[in-house]
C-alpha cells in the first residue's frame, strides 16, 4: 500500500498482539461510523433542507446522538475490551519459559530463568524465544521507569523500580521482531532498541542447550584480545562467562558475536561498528554510560574486535 504498511501494531506475529490488532480494526470501524454520523448530522445541520434541519434541531437528537448512540456503542466496546483485558492479563500457569528483562539506562539486561527462577543464561538487548508457546517476561528496572514494547508480539508494559511486572509474549512463526523503550527514560531514550528472535522449538532448544554448556565451561584461550579485554578496563563493566571478565554494569558480552545489533538495537554488528563503538560510543549514542576509549591504538581495537567476534 505504502511505505510502512501494514504498521507493526496491525501486523501481529502472535496471539497476544493478534487479538489487539483485531480490537484495533473494530475500534477503527467504530470511529469511522461515529465520525460519519457526526459529520453527516453536522452537514445536514448546516446545509440540509429546512425540513431535515427542523427535525435535527431538538432535544431528541441530543438524547439519541449524544447519549443513547454512544452509550450503546461504548457498552458493547467496553464489555468486549474488558473481557479481552482479562484474557490477556490472565494469570500465568507457572510452567512457561521465564525470562527476566531489566531495563537499564539505555539498554536491556536479559536473563533466562530455570524452573526455580534462577538466572541461568545472561544476555543483553536480544531475546531468543521458541515459537508457538507463551513466554513470561519478568519486567524490572534497575534505575528509572522504562517500558518494554515489541509491537508485533504484544502491547507495552512499564518497568518500574521496586516492582515486577509480568508480561506474556508469543510468536507463531520464526522471525525477528524489533522493539523500543516506550517510556521516556532520559538522555538516550530514543536509542534504546531491542530485538526478539523467534526460532523453531527444536532450534531454540539446541540454542539454549549450547548456551547452558557455554555458561558452564571456560572458553578457549582468547589470546591477546582476551588479555586486552581485562587490562583495558572492559572487564570491569562487562561479563564474559568463564573468563575473568565479570563486570555487571554493562551488557553481558558472552554472546556478543551472535547479536544482530550493537548499542541496544541501534547499530549493525560488524567489525567497523564494533571498533567504532569501543573507540567512541559517545559519538554514536550520546550520554550512554560507556566511556570513549580513544586511548586504544588501531591494533588494540582490532584485537578487541576480533576477540569479541569470537564470543558466541
Amino acid at each position: 500500500m505504502f511505505e510502512g504498511w501494514p504498521p507493526p501494531i496491525l501486523d501481529p506475529a502472535g496471539p497476544y498482539a493478534g487479538s489487539i490488532a483485531t480490537l484495533s480494526w473494530i475500534l477503527f470501524a467504530m470511529a469511522a461510523v461515529v465520525m460519519i454520523v457526526v459529520l453527516g448530522a453536522l452537514y445536514l445541520a448546516l446545509f440540509g433542507r429546512r425540513t431535515i434541519q427542523s427535525k435535527l434541531g431538538g432535544k431528541t437528537v441530543i438524547w439519541l446522538g449524544g447519549v443513547a448512540f454512544p452509550a450503546v456503542v461504548l457498552t458493547i466496546l467496553l464489555v468486549y475490551g474488558l473481557s479481552l483485558t482479562r484474557h490477556l492479563s490472565s494469570p500465568v500457569n507457572g510452567n512457561e519459559l521465564r525470562v527476566r528483562i531489566t531495563g537499564e539506562m539505555w539498554w536491556w539486561r536479559v536473563a533466562y530463568l530455570d524452573q526455580r527462577g534462577r538466572e541461568v543464561i545472561q544476555d543483553a538487548n536480544e531475546l531468543h524465544i521458541p515459537t508457538g508457546r507463551p513466554i513470561v517476561l519478568e519486567l524490572e528496572s534497575a534505575d528509572v521507569i522504562h517500558s518494554f514494547w515489541v509491537p508485533r508480539l504484544s502491547g507495552k508494559l512499564d518497568m518500574i523500580p521496586g516492582r515486577r511486572n509480568l508480561m506474556r509474549i508469543q510468536a507463531d512463526a520464526p522471525g525477528i521482531f524489533g522493539g523500543q523503550c516506550a517510556e521516556f527514560c532520559g538522555g538516550a531514550h530514543a536509542l534504546m532498541g531491542f530485538t526478539v528472535i523467534a526460532h523453531e522449538p527444536a532450534r531454540f532448544a539446541r540454542l539454549i542447550e549450547a548456551r547452558r554448556k557455554r555458561e558452564r565451561e571456560a572458553p578457549a584461550d582468547g589470546g591477546t584480545g582476551a588479555q586486552l579485554f581485562e587490562t583495558a578496563g572492559c572487564a570491569a563493566c562487562h561479563r564474559i562467562a568463564g573468563t575473568g571478565a565479570n563486570g555487571l554494569a554493562g551488557p553481558d558480552l558472552t554472546y556478543v558475536a551472535t547479536r544482530r545489533t550493537l548499542g541496544a538495537g541501534i547499530l549493525p554488528n560488524n567489525r567497523g561498528t564494533m571498533i567504532g563503538w569501543i573507540g567512541n560510543s559517545q559519538a554514536i549514542k550520546l550520554n550512554n554510560k560507556m566511556p570513549p576509549y580513544t586511548v586504544l591504538s588501531a591494533e588494540q581495537l582490532t584485537e578487541l574486535a576480533v576477540y569479541l567476534e569470537s564470543q558466541k
Partner: protein, 845 residues
C-alpha cells in the same frame, strides 16, 4: 415564587425606573473607576486591564511554546537530524508540554474568565480585584522567568509529567527539575488564586435575577472549572512539594529502595493531570455554547442538558486519572473501573456536541470566522474524542500508549477542544476590547491555514504511532518507514504556524485596545457583556429575566445606559459592586471594593523572587524575599475589610442594602472556605499518599512506640478550637471589651501552636529518620504541612492583633475575625488528624 434570602422578587418590577438620571453620576463613576496612567499602570487592578494583560500573556506563552514545537518538528522531519541535540531536545519537548499546559491553557481560560465574566454577569468588577492582579503578576513574572530557563540550557528535561525516579537527584542532578517543581508549583498557586476569584465572582456577583438557570453557559463552565481547580490542583501541589523535598532533603517518597514508590507520583500527578484536560476543555466548551447560540441566532438547544454535561464531566473527570497508567501493570479490576469511567466521560461530550449541532440546525448560522472556528473545532474535537475512546480500551492502549498516536490524540482533543474555540472567541469577543474589528477575510485564511495545518500535522501522526514510533524521542533511525509521515507532520506544523502568524498580523493591523469606544456586538450576541460598558462595566446593573436578555428586551441596553436599573451611581462614593445570593441571585449587600494598589504587584514579584531564587539556590536572597512578600500581601490586605459610614444605602428604586455583612453571606467567607478546601485537599492527598505507600511496601514500616502522645496533642488542639468558638461567641456578645474576642483567638492560637510543638518534638523523639524510610519521610512531611498552617496562624494572629489595636476589628461582626477563626478551626482539625494518623497507623505490624 419563593425567595432564597427573603428578598421580595416583586421589587424587580420597579425597574426600569421612569425618572431621568443626571449625567454627573456617570462622570462620578468614571472618576472613581479611572485607571492610573504612566508607571502607575502597574497598580491597576480593574478586570478590563488585568484581563487583557492576562490574555495577552497567555497568548505570548502559546506562541513561545508553539515556536518550541516548530523546532521539535523540524528536528523530527527526517531521521538523525542535528537541529536539536539530545539534551536540548529533551528540554524543548518538556518545555513545550509544560508551557502549553500550565502557562497557556489554564491561564488562558482564567484570563478569558477575568476579562469576560464581570461584564457577562453585569458586575462592576470581580470581587477581589487585587487578588486578580496578584494572580496575574505572579503568573507573568514567574512564567517568564521559568521560560527563560531554556535560554541558559537549564530548562527541565524530564517530560511535562516529570516521572520520578528520572527526576530525582540521582538521575537529574542539575537544577533543571527544580525549575519545574518550584516554577510550576508557584504558578499553580496563581491558578488557584484565580480560581477562587472566579468561583466567588460567579456565585456572588451576578446581576439580580440571573438565577443559576439563567446563567450564561460560560459562567457555568467557569464555575465547574474553578471548582475542579480547587480539587485537582492540590494533588499536584502536594506532588511537587514531595518531590522537591526528596530532591532537597533526600526524603525517599518516590524511592523504591527505601520504601517509597514511584507510582505514587503518577497517581498524584494524574489525579491532577486528567481533570486538567477537562479544566482546559470545559471553559472552551462554555465559550462554544455561547457562540453557537449567537452565531446561529437562536437559543441554545438543550441548555439544561449542557449544564448537566458540564457538571457530569467535572465529576467523572476525577475518576479517570489512572487511564494514563494502563501500561504500568495495574490490577485488572481497577483497570476495568478506569476504562469504564474513561468511556463514560464521552457521554457528556456527546451531549454537548449534539446540542451544538442541533442549535446549528435550528438557527441560520452565517459563514464567518468564528463559525468556521467553532465548526472546525467541533469536527477536530470529535476526532480526538474518538481516538480517546480507542485508548480507553485497555488492550489497545497497551499498544498505543506513549507513542505518537497519543501525541496525535491529545493534540486533536486540545486543539479541537480548546485552541480553535479560543480563536473563535478571539474573533467573537474582540469587539469588546478593540476600536476596530479584526479582518474577516484574513480570519478565514487564518482558519483554513490552521485547520489544514493541524490535520496535516496530526492525522499522519496517528500512523507514525501505529508504526511504532514512541513519543519523546529526539531522533529516529532511518529505515523504519517513519520518514514520510514525520516529514508530512513537519510540513503541517509550518502551515499551522503560518495561520497563527497571519492572525498576529491581523492583530497588529486591526486590534486597538479600548475600554469605551469598542466596536461592540459584531455577531449579535444576546448576553449582558454586550451592554454598553466603561471601566465601571455597565452604568446600571440590569435585572435579568431570561438567558438572552438583550434579545428578549431590545430596550435593555438603552435603559441600562440611561441608568434605569440598579446602582446607576456610586452609592458610597467608592468602587462598589452588588453582591447577590448564590442560587437565585437576589441582592444581598453592596460590596465596597478596594482600588488600585502597588502591593499586589510587589507581593507577586517577591513571591516569584522567593521561588525562583530558591531554584537557583540563592538561598539568602530567596529568604530575604519571603518577609517582603508577606509584608506586601499583608499591606494590601490592610486596606480591605473596611466599613463605610453608610450602614445601608439605596441601590436604586428605593431598595436598601447593607454595606457590610459577615458569615456565609459575605464573599470573603466564601473565599476563605475555598482556601480551606484547597488546604484540606492537600491534606487529604497527603493522607492518601501515606496510606498508598504503606500498602505498597508495608515491610518498610514500623509501629510508633509512644502512641499515647496523640491524646494530649489532640486535647490541645481541641482546647484551641473551643477557645476559638468562645471567641466567636464573645464577638457577638454585648458589653465584652474591645480586646476580649481577639484575646480568645490569640490564646487559641497559642494552644494550637503548643500542640503542634508537642506533636513535633515527641515525634522526633521516636527516632524515625526521614532520610531512612518512607514512613519517616511521610510523617515529617505531614508534620511540615501542619507546620505550614501553623506559620499562617502565627501571621494571622499578629495581623488580627494589629487590626484590633487599630480599631479595625469591628463589633459585633468582622470578616477578618471570621477568617482567622475559620483558619484556627481548620488547623486544629488537621493537626488532630495528623497526630492520630501518624501514631495509630500502621496499627499493627
Amino acid at each position: 415564587m419563593t425567595s432564597e434570602t427573603g428578598f421580595d422578587p416583586k421589587l424587580y418590577d420597579r425597574f426600569p425606573t421612569a425618572e431621568a438620571r443626571s449625567q454627573s453620576e456617570v462622570e462620578e463613576l468614571e472618576r472613581i473607576w479611572a485607571a492610573p496612567r504612566g508607571w502607575r499602570r502597574l497598580t491597576i487592578v480593574n478586570n478590563n486591564y488585568v484581563g487583557l494583560w492576562y490574555v495577552a500573556t497567555a497568548f505570548l506563552f502559546f506562541l513561545l511554546a508553539g515556536v518550541l514545537a516548530l523546532v521539535i518538528r523540524t528536528q523530527l522531519a527526517l531521521p538523525l537530524l542535528g537541529v536539536l541535540p539530545q539534551e536540548t531536545y529533551n528540554q524543548f519537548f518538556t518545555m513545550h508540554g509544560t508551557v502549553m499546559m500550565f502557562l497557556f491553557a489554564v491561564p488562558m481560560m482564567e484570563a478569558i474568565g477575568v476579562m469576560l465574566l464581570p461584564q457577562m454577569l453585569a458586575a462592576r468588577d470581580l470581587p477581589f480585584p487585587r487578588l486578580s492582579a496578584y494572580a496575574f503578576w505572579a503568573y507573568f513574572v514567574g512564567g517568564l522567568c521559568f521560560f527563560c530557563s531554556i535560554f541558559v540550557g537549564l530548562a527541565p528535561n524530564g517530560g511535562w509529567f516529570m516521572y520520578p525516579p528520572l527526576t530525582s537527584t540521582t538521575y537529574s542532578p542539575g537544577i533543571n527539575a527544580d525549575f519545574w517543581l518550584l516554577g510550576i508549583g508557584f504558578i499553580e498557586i496563581s491558578a488557584i488564586a484565580g480560581a477562587i476569584e472566579i468561583l466567588v465572582g460567579i456565585l456572588k456577583t451576578r446581576a439580580p435575577g440571573m438565577t443559576l438557570a439563567r446563567m450564561p453557559l460560560f459562567a457555568w463552565a467557569m464555575l465547574v472549572f474553578a471548582g475542579m481547580i480547587l480539587i485537582a490542583f492540590p494533588a499536584v501541589i502536594l506532588a511537587t512539594l514531595l518531590l522537591e523535598l526528596e530532591r532537597a532533603l533526600n526524603w525517599p517518597f518516590f524511592d523504591a529502595t527505601r520504601g517509597g514508590d514511584p507510582m505514587l507520583w503518577q497517581h498524584l500527578f494524574w489525579f491532577f493531570g486528567h481533570p486538567e484536560v477537562y479544566i482546559i476543555f470545559l471553559p472552551a466548551a462554555g465559550l462554544v455554547s455561547m457562540m453557537v447560540a449567537s452565531l446561529a441566532k437562536t437559543e441554545l438547544v438543550g441548555y439544561q442538558l449542557i449544564v448537566l454535561a458540564l457538571l457530569g464531566t467535572g465529576f467523572l473527570s476525577f475518576g479517570v486519572w489512572a487511564h494514563h497508567m494502563f501500561a504500568t501493570g495495574m490490577p485488572t479490576l481497577s483497570v476495568g473501573f478506569f476504562a469504564a469511567a474513561s468511556m463514560s466521560v464521552s457521554l457528556p461530550a456527546g451531549i454537548q456536541v449534539f446540542s451544538w449541532i442541533a442549535t446549528l440546525a435550528v438557527g441560520k448560522p452565517s459563514y464567518n470566522t468564528p463559525t468556521l472556528f467553532v465548526v472546525g473545532g467541533l469536527v477536530t474535537f470529535v476526532m480526538g474524542g474518538l481516538t480517546g475512546v480507542m485508548v480507553a480500551m485497555v488492550p489497545f492502549d497497551w499498544q498505543a500508549h506513549d507513542t505518537h498516536f497519543i501525541v496525535a490524540h491529545l493534540h486533536y482533543v486540545l486543539i479541537g477542544g480548546a485552541v480553535f474555540p479560543v480563536f473563535a472567541a478571539f474573533y467573537y469577543w474582540s469587539g469588546m476590547a478593540s476600536r476596530r474589528r479584526l479582518s474577516e477575510r484574513m480570519g478565514r485564511w487564518v482558519f483554513w491555514l490552521m485547520f489544514a495545518g493541524m490535520h496535516i500535522t496530526f492525522l499522519p501522526m496517528h500512523l507514525t504511532g501505529l508504526m511504532g514510533m514512541p513519543r519523546r524521542v529526539y531522533t529516529y533511525l532511518p529505515g523504519k518507514d517513519w520518514e514520510w509521515t514525520n516529514l508530512l507532520s513537519t510540513v503541517g506544523a509550518f502551515i499551522l504556524a503560518a495561520g497563527i502568524l497571519l492572525f498576529l498580523i491581523d492583530l497588529a493591523r486591526n486590534f486597538r485596545f479600548t475600554t469605551e469606544n469598542d466596536v461592540g456586538n459584531l455577531y449579535g450576541g444576546g448576553t449582558l457583556e454586550w451592554l454598553p460598558t466603561g471601566l465601571y462595566s455597565t452604568r446600571s446593573i440590569p435585572v435579568v429575566k431570561s438567558r438572552q436578555p438583550l434579545w428578549d428586551d431590545p430596550k435593555l441596553a438603552r435603559h441600562v445606559a440611561e441608568g434605569r436599573y440598579l446602582l446607576p451611581y456610586s452609592a458610597t462614593g467608592r468602587r462598589e459592586t452588588l453582591i447577590t445570593s448564590p442560587v437565585r441571585a437576589e441582592p444581598q449587600y453592596l460590596q465596597v471594593m478596594v482600588g488600585p494598589s502597588v502591593w499586589p504587584f510587589l507581593g507577586a514579584v517577591f513571591t516569584a523572587g522567593f521561588f525562583l531564587l530558591l531554584t537557583v539556590q540563592a538561598y539568602a536572597l530567596s529568604i530575604a524575599c519571603l518577609p517582603l512578600a508577606t509584608l506586601s500581601i499583608l499591606r494590601w490586605l490592610w486596606d480591605t475589610d473596611r466599613q463605610v459610614p453608610q450602614k445601608e444605602v439605596d441601590v436604586g428604586a428605593g431598595i436598601m442594602l447593607p454595606t457590610y455583612v459577615t458569615g456565609p453571606r459575605a464573599h470573603g467567607w466564601w473565599a476563605t472556605i475555598c482556601v480551606l478546601v484547597v488546604a484540606g485537599m492537600i491534606f487529604l492527598m497527603a493522607v492518601f499518599s501515606y496510606l498508598f505507600v504503606y500498602g505498597i511496601h508495608p515491610s518498610f514500616w514500623t509501629i510508633p512506640t509512644d502512641r499515647w502522645w496523640a491524646f494530649p496533642v489532640a486535647a490541645g488542639y481541641a482546647a484551641g478550637a473551643s477557645l476559638t468558638l468562645y471567641g466567636r461567641h464573645l464577638m457577638g456578645r454585648e458589653g465584652a471589651s474591645k480586646w476580649s474576642p481577639t484575646a480568645a483567638l490569640l490564646f487559641a492560637s497559642a494552644f494550637i501552636i503548643a500542640s503542634f510543638a508537642t506533636d513535633w518534638f515527641t515525634w522526633q523523639a521516636q527516632g524515625f529518620d526521614p532520610e531512612v524510610s518512607a514512613q519517616g519521610a511521610f510523617a515529617q512531611a505531614m508534620l511540615a504541612l501542619e507546620g505550614q498552617m501553623i506559620a499562617v496562624i502565627v501571621l494571622m494572629a499578629g495581623y488580627l492583633a494589629a487590626r484590633t489595636a487599630s480599631g479595625l476589628v469591628t463589633r459585633p461582626r468582622n470578616t477578618t475575625f471570621d477568617v482567622v477563626s475559620l483558619f484556627l478551626l481548620y488547623t486544629a482539625a488537621q493537626g488532630t488528624a495528623t497526630a492520630i494518623l501518624l501514631r495509630f497507623f500502621p496499627a499493627s505490624g
